[in-house]
């Protein structure tokens, strides 16, 4: 279900685009400070509780990480990673979830009109009613976020708790976070908070600390403080995420060209007919198919 009270900025597979621009909202954002995340997974549980997702069967396979990737019933995953750093260990815990890109690859790839929308406040949401479960969004997302739900036949991912945030509450994960490493607010505020924390980390000796807000997707609605910005792979984050070129090529080049080409073929056939007409069999009597003699 899409939030009717929120104006839509962008909608998947829309022919003309739909924003009216009458109502504007500041872009909202979630702040994740991986440098103060303790990996307690309260956010994982809160996410499932609020969104009424069912428990997923898991097994202990030698890691603190709950499951290998996000899952249609698990939209918020803390990724654990142990790395050698500075003669010791860096135990990375990164909250993996939908990044709510300003230029969302999922939305770009989605063929179902209105199935993926970007609200005026920047939240990217799947409209389950319109989703056809084709999975194109999986290919368009540079963060490997949307997941196909085999039972519902729809795609599922974090909604940034649009049902909470619309009525002035913070997302469930932020509410549950015990350490304050998750915050919610306007994008401007969250970026300011992130930059402040990054300078603090740098002053503390972590010279490569960054605020992950990649420009390739127009910036993300989820901004992440990374202590080791020079090792994005430790966080399973792409260094230069963008809407895939192949998706753009297919959607914006091949498809229109193809339509022109097919239309061209039809017009060509007409044109041919007007110029050359039928290729008649000489002798009109011979041309028709007669019923055979009895």
């Amino acid at each position: 279900m899409v939030m009717q009270s929120l104006e839509i900025r962008r909608s998947s597979a829309s022919v003309w685009g739909i924003p009216s621009g009458i109502r504007t909202l500041p872009t909202v954002s979630k702040y994740i400070d991986t440098s103060t995340c303790i990996g307690c997974k309260a956010c994982e549980v809160a996410c499932q509780e609020w969104n009424d997702l069912r428990p997923v069967q898991t097994a202990q396979v030698g890691t603190y990480q709950t499951m290998p990737t996000l899952h249609p019933e698990f939209w918020n995953l803390i990724r654990f990673n142990e790395q050698n750093f500075d003669g010791g260990i860096a135990w990375i815990m990164r909250k993996d979830q939908c990044m709510h890109c300003d230029d969302p690859g999922c939305l770009a790839a989605c063929p179902a009109p209105g199935a993926i929308v970007q609200y005026a406040n920047g939240i990217v949401d799947v409209n389950q009613d319109l989703c056809i479960g084709c999975g194109y969004c999986e290919s368009g997302c540079p963060f490997d976020v949307p997941k196909f739900h085999a039972t519902t036949g729809k795609m599922a991912k974090c909604t940034l708790c649009v049902d909470r945030t619309t009525v002035g509450l913070e997302p469930a994960c932020v509410k549950a976070c015990p350490t304050g490493c998750l915050q919610f607010g306007t994008k401007d505020d969250m970026v300011a908070l992130g930059n402040q924390r990054v300078s603090q980390l740098k002053a503390g000796g972590l010279k490569n600390a960054v605020l992950y807000n990649p420009a390739g997707v127009g910036g993300t609605g989820v901004v992440t403080v990374l202590a080791h910005g020079d090792h994005l792979d430790w966080y399973s984050l792409p260094s230069d995420p963008h809407v895939p070129i192949l998706t753009r090529l297919w959607k914006h080049v091949v498809r229109p060209l193809g339509m022109v080409a097919i239309a061209g073929a039809v017009i060509g056939a007409f044109g041919h007919f007007t110029k050359f007409g039928r290729k008649e069999v000489p002798g009109s009597a011979d041309s028709g198919v007669q019923p055979p003699p009895a």
Binding site: A13, S14, V15, P111, A112, P113, L130, I132, G133, C134, G135, Y136, E138, S139, C141, D144, K147, F148, G153, P244, L246, T247, L249, W250, V254, R255, L257, G258, M259, A261, I262, G264, A265, V266, G268, A269, H272, F273, F276, R278, K279, E280, V281, P282, G283, D286, S287, G288, V289, Q290, P291, P292, P293, A294
Partner: protein, 235 residues
């Protein structure tokens, strides 16, 4: 084999009866061009193609969203499309092997890739050595077979998006699209030539028969082979 009806039969359409299981056969004024099996195969491919087309086009672009109405909406179209695709491929495969023997390229048909095709479309050139299928038809045959395969493979990858790397998926979408585009162009001409442009052709796929004149015009060598008429009587 003889298609001669027995006297006990009620008057029947001898050509159609003959066409049940025979072709390349003269029945009265007509020649059976495609026996029933061939036609069934053709129309099966054709039907599944259109199902794929109408279920696929609305996914391809929202401009064709209205087509989804045939299936009860886009979600249903998305469910129908891959299964119709499988059916389309299977029928295409049967068709491929059904006609493969008759689709051997002759050395003289090389030109169909270029100038010959244009000449043909201008209703010019010497067609006297064209057999049952001309070079264009053979080209179309192999192109569609290849297309069906391309659509199948890319389509299967697209069916299980979670199972494949993103780049593979993106390539699949591209391949599926490009294949479809060429396929669609080819089909436009196939239908145009088979209906409006060349009267008498459509019957070959409905009744299964063509007239002698049609055969002589479009496929002279086939005409000669079937009738034993080397054309000397035409003078």
């Amino acid at each position: 084999m003889s298609a001669t009806p027995t006297a006990r039969h009620r008057p029947v359409d001898l050509a159609v009866v003959a066409g049940r299981d025979q072709e390349n056969l003269i029945v009265g004024n007509e020649i059976v061009r495609h026996r029933r099996a061939s036609r069934l195969i053709h129309w099966s491919v054709s039907l599944t193609f259109f199902v794929c087309l109408f279920s696929g086009m609305p996914i391809w672009s929202p401009i064709f969203g209205w087509m989804a109405a045939f299936f009860g909406g886009l979600s249903a179209a998305r469910v129908v499309h891959p299964w119709a695709g499988i059916a389309f491929f299977l029928f295409s495969a049967v068709m491929f092997f059904h006609w493969l023997g008759e689709m051997r390229f002759l050395p003289s048909e090389r030109g169909w890739l270029g100038p010959k095709a244009l000449e043909y479309m201008r209703y010019e050139g010497d067609d006297s050595e064209v057999g049952k299928y001309n070079g264009g038809q053979k080209l179309f045959f192999f192109a569609t077979a290849l297309g069906a395969l391309g659509l199948l493979v890319s389509g299967l990858l697209m069916w299980w998006p979670s199972a494949f790397p993103r780049v593979v998926l993106q390539l699949s979408y591209l391949i599926h699209d490009i294949t479809f585009i060429f396929f669609a162009i080819a089909i436009v001409f196939h239908i145009y030539l088979g209906t409006a442009a060349e009267p008498g052709t459509f019957g070959a796929m409905t009744r299964g028969t063509v007239t002698r004149g049609w055969a002589r015009l479009h496929h002279p060598r086939w005409f000669r082979d079937v009738t034993g008429d080397d054309g000397s009587r035409r003078g």
